[in-house]
Symmetry: C2
Subunit: 579 residues, 2 copies
């Protein structure tokens, strides 16, 4: 029980020198990768750069205690940072203490929500987000993020709440481009693209192993940061209008208590829920992918608790919302991390950076950070997924495109809400018309099959309908319509048999529909029978009046029903040669 | 095609003297019943009494043209009137021209929405409202309506947006009760209850037929109206503080064009949608019940068009939202109506009343109308349904109680939204954990059954899982979890076979989950196979890369799969004695 909520007890018992070495190596590499990322994502969220470092200390230690994934690396990520900027930007303006306080509250509420969902085992809530909606949302977010960073590359002020406003604003400021900033931005972007595409093969040619090459290639941003910072310092480019990070306090995060402000909390409740769910879905899929490679288990409900605690930890140490990052976790895994202790060691690395490295970052150009963001998020744009979804399913494609277009046009919150709404709608639409078939007896057998697909024997006064779906509120009315129509169109029908072999569940709405069907058929002098009702469904029906009111009977098999109702016809079909 | 959109063409061709006589008789009876009802429901909606008459003319004629039910009687009904009062009351105060204009706009928008839903064949949207939610909503609405009418019975001013405010306000005004009003109100209520319970058996004792007795008993309110109006006039009770209807203009409705006011329209869009759907659900279930008795068909999508057109007609003739009324339609049916022409004749009757009867209604006490409303809505309270739902299904009961309590506490819009939200949530929760079973071979056969329920043969290196549900976004992750866990817990497993006999559909989310499962199993050196994949599902899978990437194969039957993967085990099981 204790191990369920504190998975650290599970792995710490067998911790030894080998595991320590592996975890330490991975931690060093992830720390190097995380420093520029955490600064960049803090800027993307509209927060001071050091807040990114603060969000990369406590959450990592907390996840190491509560997390069930051995290799997940939590911290600031691009999409959650964009969502933070969108949510907080509606409440306060960037740079104000209110803005920072709202970002902290967002992490706090989001963390509490995740923890409550974890304790109540509500992980299934993440199911509301279908894959096409997530994929479309991430693609659209990446496009918005990349565009929003162009202003740092150009060195201009541009604002906008959606893609089109951003583009228009950028175009309007085209004349004010700062050539030094542009040079640094373009160089950094080109360098990072080169690193991403070419460094790994080159290192391999020099004889390095595939994993090591991969890991070193991922630390490219650090080189870009170091080089451009040196150039900006050496040529005093800040005097030429190149925006740099500036003064960062050299200290560890101080404990802060999020303001207990009900008005603020209710204003950010919806964005907090969306960030929680999007972050959780990302976290769980990364964690499951990595765990499976080593045949390890993760507990989805405990992951909610762990991610929630990490966010609460981020809030009370002055950070903003964190989630499990994909590329960072892969680097952690590839670098050989064995246990969540690697995350705790990374936290120590980031804490050292916050204490001792910050003076060196004074001259770090914002354009360099923008370049790392752009190169990172462009890899999230998955145009191929759009094509695949189009080929596979038009309704999933519709949900995906609705998400992308709404996100680009109206922003992240509207985008994800529209996607979830549309996919629920399409699901209900689909299941409101379940597959059903009129069935007849296969000659020479006791089997009953679809009359449209097989040569079967039917009796004019008996209508047998097989429903291929559980009956619940979304399709209950469909069944009523279908039976009403069939009986109204064919005056010969005297018996209706519902073949329930595929019905796993009948909810109260469907029960009332069955009662209505029974009553209406009775008024029209038609008897209603059921056949092949599953055990659990029958148990439940016995708790209602339906079986007493039923004009006909419940038969164990469809053949029993037909044999009892029209014995001659059934016997004749049975004696026909089998085809 | 023309007949689909104009069902009048269908029945008018065979219209003859017999049908005319039947329809005329029914129209006279429904007119007598409708006059007090339409006045009362207009007052309930917070509108002048004559607006109720206006809403009972044009809509009835329009429904006769477009409706597919032969006997449905449309007009003002209690629940829609309450919803109108709730929606419009938030925008303007009762008695102002803005209030009336908003009610007209509500009918107009609601009508347009219904027509659009009809043309787009979106009738399935009504499926969002499960039976328990509707039933709970109507019960709670009836309680609120009955309580809100008590002020007219007591002759006091009481206000409140929910049940508790109403009760508190009534109690606060207890000292101001008008004794004359109370006498009339109590008399009318008692008389109407007596009529409802005792008049029909009495008439039958006097030798009248059951149907005629029923129909006469339904016209009881007219007697109450006549008697109390005469008393109020004779004793000039209006001078004693008894509130009467007062001056009603003696004229037909004049065509009005609803104001094209985008701000107003967007403010009432959500209530209009709720009224549309609640009204439609009521309409369609009455229409289906009555049609089935005579083995007639109704077209649910055309009913949307007809009800929508009726509401637009109501709006442009100065009326408020209308729907198909249950008791009124039953009276129409029982009185012998054969075609929708009966509705058109009723409209003529109401028009005559608006022209010539209104002076007689000057002294009609509001307490009498309140009594007719109270007696009518108390029959809508269905406490038995609450008990039945509790016995049958706890989750449906939860949705029902949430609807009732939220409606009573926060009003109609919140109530129905909470009910719909919770039932969707519970449905997703249920289908996110579909039934699935590990299966094994039944000795001596080619059948595979649940290992927990049957004595079956399993091979340690093969895990066969049968999923008893279509795979889509709500349960895709469940499958991932289930397979990941099983494989992580049992290091012997080398093959996983998914038995898809009950899978009717795989959406894009489930496809990605299958791809993830395949990839993760491959990383863990386990092969994934499918068996018994249905034709349409297979066709769809062929449009993706999944079948190429699949580490294992797709087998026609589960037995084929096991026989190919572990021939010895399958053969051994086959040769075991059948149990």
């Amino acid at each position: 029980m204790l191990k369920r909520y504190f998975p650290i007890l599970d792995w710490s018992a067998s911790y030894n020198r080998d595991t320590l070495t592996n975890d330490l190596v991975a931690a060093v590499i992830v720390t190097i990768m995380l420093i520029p990322q955490s600064l960049a994502y803090a800027l993307l969220a509209g927060l001071p750069a050091e807040v990114g470092l603060y969000a990369s200390i406590a959450p990592l230690v907390i996840y190491a205690i509560f997390g069930t994934s051995r290799t997940l690396a939590v911290g600031p990520v691009a999409v959650a940072s964009l969502m933070t900027a969108a949510a907080v930007g509606e409440l306060a303006s960037q740079g104000t203490p209110e803005y920072y306080a709202a970002a902290i509250a967002l992490a706090f509420i989001s963390g509490l929500m995740l923890m409550v969902m974890g304790f109540l085992r509500l992980g299934f809530l993440a199911n509301f987000l279908s894959h096409p909606v997530i994929s479309g949302f991430i693609t659209a977010s990446a496009i918005i993020i990349a565009t929003s960073q162009l202003k740092h590359i150009f060195g201009v002020n541009a604002e906008g709440h959606n893609l089109f406003e951003l583009v228009v604003s950028l175009a309007g400021h085209a004349s004010q481009i700062n050539p030094f900033t542009l040079a640094i931005g373009v160089f950094a972007t080109a360098f990072l693209f080169w690193v991403r595409g070419n460094l790994k093969p080159m290192l391999r040619k020099f004889g390095l192993g595939p994993r090591l090459s991969e890991v070193i290639a991922k630390t490219g941003p650090v080189a870009a940061v170091a080089a451009t910072t040196a150039v900006a310092w050496g040529f005093a480019l800040d005097a030429q209008g190149v925006k740099v990070i500036g003064e960062i306090p050299s200290r560890l995060p101080v404990p802060t208590m999020p303001a207990f402000d009900l008005e603020l909390w209710s204003a950010i409740a919806v964005p907090a829920l969306l960030i929680s769910i999007v972050g959780y879905v990302e976290t769980i899929s990364v964690a499951q992918t990595l765990a499976a490679k080593r045949r390890q288990r993760i507990d989805p409900d405990q992951e909610l608790v762990a991610l929630g605690a990490a966010n609460v930890g981020s809030a009370v140490s002055g950070g903003f919302p964190v989630t499990g990052g994909f590329s960072r976790s892969v680097v952690n895994f590839d670098a050989g991390a064995q246990t969540p202790a690697a995350g705790a060691f990374t936290a120590v690395g980031i804490a050292m950076a916050a204490l001792f490295l910050t003076p060196l970052l004074h001259y770090l150009p914002k354009a360099t950070l923008a370049a790392t963001i752009i190169v990172a998020v462009l890899s999230l744009i998955d145009l191929d997924a759009i094509k695949r979804t189009w080929t596979y399913s038009k309704s999933d494609f519709a949900a995906m495109m609705a998400t992308i277009l709404t996100t680009l046009t109206f922003g992240v919150e509207m985008g994800i809400t529209a996607g979830v709404g549309l996919s629920l709608f399409l699901h209900l639409y689909r299941s409101s018309r379940p597959h059903s078939a009129v069935v007849g007896q296969v000659p020479g057998t006791e089997h009953f099959r679809n009359v449209n697909r097989h040569e079967v024997v039917v009796t004019p006064e008996v209508l047998s309908v097989r429903i291929d779906e559980s009956l619940y509120f979304a399709n209950a009315r469909f069944l009523e319509d279908r039976i009403n129509d069939a009986v109204a169109l064919d005056p010969n029908i005297e018996h209706v048999i519902l073949m329930c072999s595929a019905v796993n569940f009948i909810d109260a709405s469907a029960l009332e529909s069955l009662e209505a069907i029974n009553e209406r058929l009775h008024d029209a002098n038609v008897m209603l029978h059921l056949s092949e009702v599953k055990g659990p469904v029958m148990d439940r029906l016995k708790r209602s009046h339906f079986l007493e009111d039923l004009s006909g009977r419940v038969y164990l098999t469809q053949y029993d029903a037909v044999r009892t109702i029209s014995p001659h016809a059934a016997a004749k079909a049975m004696n026909m040669p089998r085809q």
